[in-house]
């Protein structure tokens, strides 16, 4: 299995803010091509490319843009979601820091396509250096006329606001992010209406993940047909996998979708587990994706194959757990985090996440009971079906899958009490 550097091909090759070097490496070609096309032709290219969202939900990007473009309400807003908060996910930072011009180019193309004159990039607050770099980049872009009035002598004008996140996980959820930009508490909302219909300040808004946006200039420069040569028929393009947990070489690796299996990714790039033990479980799509057992890692790296294996490709944040760890400890770590992050918008998540955190904590202290396991399943399932947003629908998945795959660990944790 090989890396296939498309989005990351410029990372580390030159000073990230060097616009000349960016142009010399083929940068801005996509934007120039986009600006001579009509907005609807740009959207058509994105639709043809088959690009799907890289932030976890994998929604077709072209459809999202098309829906926002069709709305009559103005102004429209384009938002780059760089509030990368999912556990085990750190790939957006590589692009934000290493190939910022490409991300900016994607933002400008996206805003042009949907007819937005104000764009935002909402950067995770903990990425302080990244925020500073982007503030500098926005100023440089004004000078280079990539932002401002008449972008590159077209009749299109765009302003960019660089926004620093303020330390809330849920602000990465699209509606919570929108609320945040409206100076409200970061809270999710019921859909529909979708943000593309009624988003920021009630206006049509597109929210795209950084990696999704970084694909846009590539598609425009190459053409959708050429782009589709990457990846598989159903899953075109590449993905940046953030590999972490019990592996020797954690890092971000860009590979073509479908080009290998999850096990190959872990073995060949991760160079084996830290303790040299076998793999017990893997979360292939970030901290809220279901666990896969060590013996079901031979699925190909496509959305469909990972779904069939029992989990989801999500943010492509691959977290590896080796043998010797208890599943109770694994879910305890996750619930310690998610237990504090519900926005409180809907009851299942607001109550469920705290109750599940308490039960898992009790289990890990050897104070759990058999009823606790049933209770975990019940609350978890209720959250999955009844929550408003992706967080509530997904955080129980690792717990539910752990109960199914490693019942022995939970029973052992309970048995400790009775002895």
């Amino acid at each position: 299995m090989k890396e296939r550097k498309v989005l990351t091909r410029r990372v580390g090759k030159y000073e990230p803010l060097d616009l000349k070097a960016y142009e010399a490496s083929g940068g801005l070609e996509g934007l120039r091509r986009a600006l001579v096309l009509k907005p609807e032709e740009v959207i058509e290219q994105i639709k043809l490319s088959g690009l799907t969202g890289r932030g976890g939900a994998a929604f077709p990007t072209g459809l999202k843009w098309g829906s926002a473009a069709q709305e009559k309400e103005t102004p429209k807003y384009f938002i780059c979601n760089a509030d990368e908060g999912e556990l085990g996910t750190f790939k957006d930072k590589v692009l934000l820091d290493g190939a910022p011009w490409a991300v900016l180019e994607g933002i400008v193309i996206g805003a042009y396509a949907i007819g937005a004159q104000l764009a935002y990039i909402y950067v995770k607050g903990e990425y302080e250096e990244t925020v500073k770099l982007w503030e500098k980049l926005a100023a440089e872009a004004q000078k280079a006329r990539l932002l401002g009035t008449d972008v590159l002598d077209s009749e299109f004008s765009l302003q960019l606001q660089v926004v620093k996140g303020r330390g809330l996980y849920i602000a990465g959820e699209e509606f919570a992010l929108i609320s945040s930009l409206e100076t409200r508490r970061a809270m999710s909302r019921l859909k529909p209406p979708y943000p593309s219909q009624r988003g920021l300040f009630g206006k049509p808004t597109v929210v795209n993940n950084v990696e999704t946006i970084a694909n846009v200039p590539v598609i425009l420069a190459k053409g959708a047909e050429e782009y589709r040569k990457l990846g598989t028929k159903d899953d075109p393009g590449t993905r940046l996998f953030s590999l972490s947990g019990d592996v020797k070489e954690a890092g971000v690796y860009e590979v073509e979708l479908g080009s290998g299996t999850l096990r190959e990714l872990i073995d060949e790039f991760g160079k084996g587990t830290t303790g040299g033990r076998h793999i017990k479980a893997v979360q292939p799509g970030g901290g809220t994706s279901a666990l896969l057992a060590g013996n079901s890692l031979d699925c190909r790296l496509t959305t469909e194959a990972i779904r069939k294996a029992g989990s989801s490709i999500g943010t492509a944040g691959v977290i590896v757990y080796e043998q010797g760890k208890s599943a109770v400890g694994i879910v305890r770590g996750l619930m310690d985090f998610y237990g504090l992050e519900s926005c409180g918008r809907c009851a299942p998540c607001r109550i469920g996440v705290v109750r599940m955190k308490e039960i898992v904590e009790r289990l890990s202290h050897g104070k759990g009971t058999t009823e606790d396991l049933e209770q975990l399943r019940r609350i978890g399932k209720a959250c999955v079906v009844a929550s408003t947003c992706g967080m509530g629908q997904a955080f129980p998945l690792p717990v539910l899958s752990a109960l199914e795959l490693f019942p022995g660990d939970f029973e052992a944790a309970i048995a400790k009490v009775s002895v």
Binding site: L118, G125, Q161, V162, V163, K164, R166, G167, L168, S180, L181, E182, T183, R184, R185, A186, F201
Partner: protein, 75 residues
């Protein structure tokens, strides 16, 4: 971090002028980063400038981990 003073605050406002609901979140972030907290006077002023209710601004300020309403003790 600087002590709150009206001059520094005014400069921040000027840099982000005109202050609208569209850039309010960015601006309160800058004020927090500059002074280390969000002074009452500033909330009052921003609410008047943007037409956003003070209550809503406080709602946001009290929910994000990074915002403070008082200057932190240096310890």
């Amino acid at each position: 971090m600087k002590m709150f003073n009206m001059q520094t605050y005014q400069n921040l406002i000027n840099e982000h002028s005109p202050v609208t609901p569209e850039n309010l979140f960015v601006l309160i972030g800058k004020i927090q980063d500059t002074f280390g907290y969000m002074p009452t006077e500033a909330v009052h002023d921003l609410a008047a400038k943007t037409g956003v209710a003070e209550a809503r601004i406080y709602g946001a300020l009290t929910s994000y981990k990074d915002f403070k309403l008082r200057m932190e003790d240096k310890g």
